[in-house]
């Protein structure tokens, strides 16, 4: 499908993507680029990438497919640095958690004849790094592709075919709508989990040793990479702040019912949440 791919950012997602490309025979040679030479050397030893380059433009010079898999805040700079060497007809895609304006900016910054197609596999976790890389990471996971009116149809088709080959459930969504949806179901939950853990720290750090499975599950995402989540939070900050406001209204309502010892009103909120959550299912 592709002769050469370049993975810019060889972490959990970039490495898993590379392994999946190889497993499904979609690409001959994969060249990696990243900030840590030690990590690139290890990725090569582990058979995740075939070679690596000291510069994004060197990594991309032969690539038919370029994957942006570093923290989203660095995408613009990576494309800028790779730009001069991008081949005519190359497809640039990504695994970033933010789309919206970033998609339009990247479309603007790739050279004419190079096609950007945004993608967001819903397969991240609190884990990061190539140690957990897995060619099956994306199987059965949602992958949201975010074409715009400028997206080249053949490039879109190629990117969708890659994710379909990986066994993902592929959907398309408008880039701006994507950012609203994921502000609500992913970015806000991360902010809240971080705030929850810090609140317990503020109260008494020794309390952590008494926590049960509920607290562990609820705060698992607070172990996620601070660097990745700082980038995501800032790039999607307007949507996230809107969601924080809606969340805060809900919390304030419950707090008011607690203050008033209003059992019936409180229970109504719990019933509503419980039935919504049960409809999502357990896994």
């Amino acid at each position: 499908m592709f002769n050469n791919a370049a993975i810019l950012g060889v972490g959990l997602l970039g490495a898993s993507f590379s392994l999946a490309l190889k497993k499904h025979g979609l690409c001959g040679n994969v060249c990696g680029y990243g900030r840590s030479r030690a990590n690139l050397e290890r990725a090569k030893e582990m058979g995740i990438i075939d070679s690596f380059a000291a510069d994004p433009s060197d990594a991309c010079s032969d690539a038919d497919l370029v994957l942006l898999a570093a923290p989203v805040g660095s995408f613009a700079e990576l494309v800028k640095r790779a730009s001069s060497s991008l081949k005519n007809g190359a497809v640039v895609t990504d695994v970033g958690s933010v789309k919206g304006r970033l998609v339009y900016d990247l479309e603007d910054s790739v050279p004419s004849g190079v096609h950007f197609v945004g993608a967001h596999p819903i397969a991240g976790s609190d884990r990061s790094g190539i140690t957990y890389a897995d060619p099956e990471l994306f199987r059965d996971a949602l992958c949201i592709i975010t074409p715009s009116h400028r997206t080249e149809p053949a490039a879109l088709k190629a990117v969708m075919a890659v994710w379909n080959s990986f066994g993902s459930k592929v959907m398309t969504m408008d880039p701006d709508q994507h950012d609203r949806v994921y502000a609500a179901v992913s970015h806000l939950p991360h902010i809240i989990a971080y705030a929850m853990v810090n609140a317990v720290s503020d109260i008494d750090r020794s309390f952590f040793s008494y926590c049960g499975q509920g607290f562990r599950d609820m705060t698992r995402i607070a172990a996620s990479s601070p660097e990745i989540w700082t980038d995501i939070s800032l790039l999607n900050r307007e949507n996230i702040r809107e969601m924080i406001a809606v969340f805060r209204e809900n919390l304030d309502r419950m707090d008011a019912h607690l203050k008033a010892s209003d059992a019936e009103a409180l229970k109504k909120h719990f019933v509503r949440a419980s039935s919504s959550r049960k409809r999502i299912g357990q896994d």
Copy 2:
């Protein structure tokens, strides 16, 4: 160890306690009481209880051990109704998530010669009901026993021996301290998970279908029983409201950093939360 036990409230915890008593040979006969006759009949068919009674006082008339395992808001009433039939020397204990003043109140309301010892196994989940009853539910789980200065030493020893037999990690804690600790690491997280799910409902219910594992893990406890959690929330409302205030300060700080696009300040909060959460471990 005991000839007869009474389980007042045959749900997930009461049924699992009964099965564990039987499995470890700690009790001859277990009599159940609960609001739903159909549930009691099913519990008897499943071998969870040996018999059941239509009234708490009938259930307790022969009991050496009485377990309060209904929603905590009903404990006072249950003890009042059972009081006249409680045997001299009987031990009354519970599996409730709130202690504090409730412990002192129950100590006051059991007849002279009957001993109350509070206990809180950290083994609940979003599941409820006897379908999930399991004699091994409490193995390796924390169980917090909350003696007061009035607790009878032999009764305390007997209750601790029961939980040790079940394979729990048994600890003692002051009843008021218990309520502060669990307001922070259990009650607040439940309130937040309920508010999180309702916030997404308010924004757009269709967004639920795009959620990933992070959202599922984070909101799993929002599927918990509204009845149980209304009782817990109101009984421990002062501590919970204090924790909500600390949480809100943390959320507001992050929101301010988002507003100011202050990457460094935001990242500091994320780093602090991430390292705290990593120290707790993953399971």
